[in-house]
């Protein structure tokens, strides 16, 4: 029998209310080296990605938010108690650093979508010959890519400027070649949430050329992965 692991937190001694987890399993509190983990027993080798399971995972992690800010585990984490204890022991310092980093905060997600036709407008070919048309097409691809990359960067910097004062930390992914050009995660202190929303609402008014998808508050999913951050910091792929 393996354990399905939802999240990790500090200073939690008991669950305030019964919570149902994956497949309706009872969620329990496991204490390891002073840290509290929410787990449930799981009989199987893999976790089905179903609507109910995904929502159950998030609901269990979210159930901690009234008491503290937990570090969520990724969906599908199945592990023996022995392996889990080994992980906690070997990553203790990194986990404590992460818990300190997210303490008192929540995550907000901002995705920005643009109209690619608008970005590429004005680059139509004026030539009619096949050779010239080919070269024009290549030119469009190169210049269009550069233009999109520059605009994506501009939008990312603009967003950061708009909310920077009320954000403790941010992570941004740029995708200039797609409609979803900017995917940003903002770590916001709870008492700053209202100010954050107001600043974001004001910013959105000023950019009618962009489409926004704002969601949250989330547990700090985007600020929990110590391994990925190690790879980012040290260029390991």
């Amino acid at each position: 029998m393996k354990l399905y692991v939802y999240c990790l937190a500090e200073d939690i001694d008991a669950l305030t209310a019964p919570v149902s987890g994956i497949s309706g399993a009872k969620v329990s509190l496991l204490k390891l080296e002073g840290l509290s983990l929410l787990v449930s027993e799981f009989d199987g080798d893999s976790t089905p990605v179903t609507r109910d399971n995904v929502l159950a995972h998030d609901a269990v992690v979210r159930s901690m938010l009234d008491q503290t800010t937990p570090l969520p585990f990724r969906f599908g984490t199945l592990v023996t108690e022995q392996k889990l204890a080994s992980y906690i022991s070997s990553h203790r310092q990194g986990l404590e650093t992460k818990l300190t980093q997210v303490r008192g905060c929540l995550e907000m997600s901002v995705k920005i979508i643009w109209d690619t036709d608008q970005v590429d407008a004005g680059s139509e070919s004026q030539e009619s010959g096949p050779g010239a048309a080919f070269l024009q097409q290549k030119r469009r691809e190169i210049l269009g890519g550069e233009r999109r990359a520059a605009r994506a960067k501009e939008v990312s910097v603009w967003l950061s400027d708009q909310v920077g004062m009320v954000v403790r930390e941010e992570q941004t992914v740029l995708s200039p070649t797609q409609k979803l050009i900017v995917a940003a995660a903002h770590l916001v202190e709870r008492e700053c949430m209202r100010a954050y929303r107001e600043r974001l609402a004001e910013a959105r008014k000023n950019r009618p050329d962009l489409h926004f998808l704002v969601s949250g508050p989330w547990p700090p999913y985007s600020f929990s992965n110590i391994d990925l951050e190690f790879k980012t910091l040290f260029g390991v792929s």
Binding site: L8, V49, R74, L213, G216
Partner: protein
């Protein structure tokens, strides 16, 4: 007293996507793509046909692709 965390608030001017689709898409994006990872200990199975359209698209992390798939479902 109600909790501010009872539900995820979604604000969007993205057309073509229903609120419930956006909510699930965002949840999938967070729980499948992010969070603490214990090396070698994540095994998932996309088994529920109802979720395949969102599951696959969240793995691609693309609203554009989600739009295309949702249009095909109509």
């Amino acid at each position: 007293m109600s909790s501010p965390f009872d539900q995820v608030l979604i604000e969007s001017d993205v057309e073509q996507l229903e609120q419930s689709d956006l909510s699930l898409l965002e949840t999938l994006d967070h729980v499948l793509n992010r969070g603490l990872v214990i090396a070698g200990e994540i095994t998932i199975a996309v088994a529920d046909i109802d979720l395949v359209f969102v599951g696959l698209n969240v793995l691609l992390s693309s609203v554009e692709t989600a739009n295309e798939v949702l249009r095909k479902r109509e």
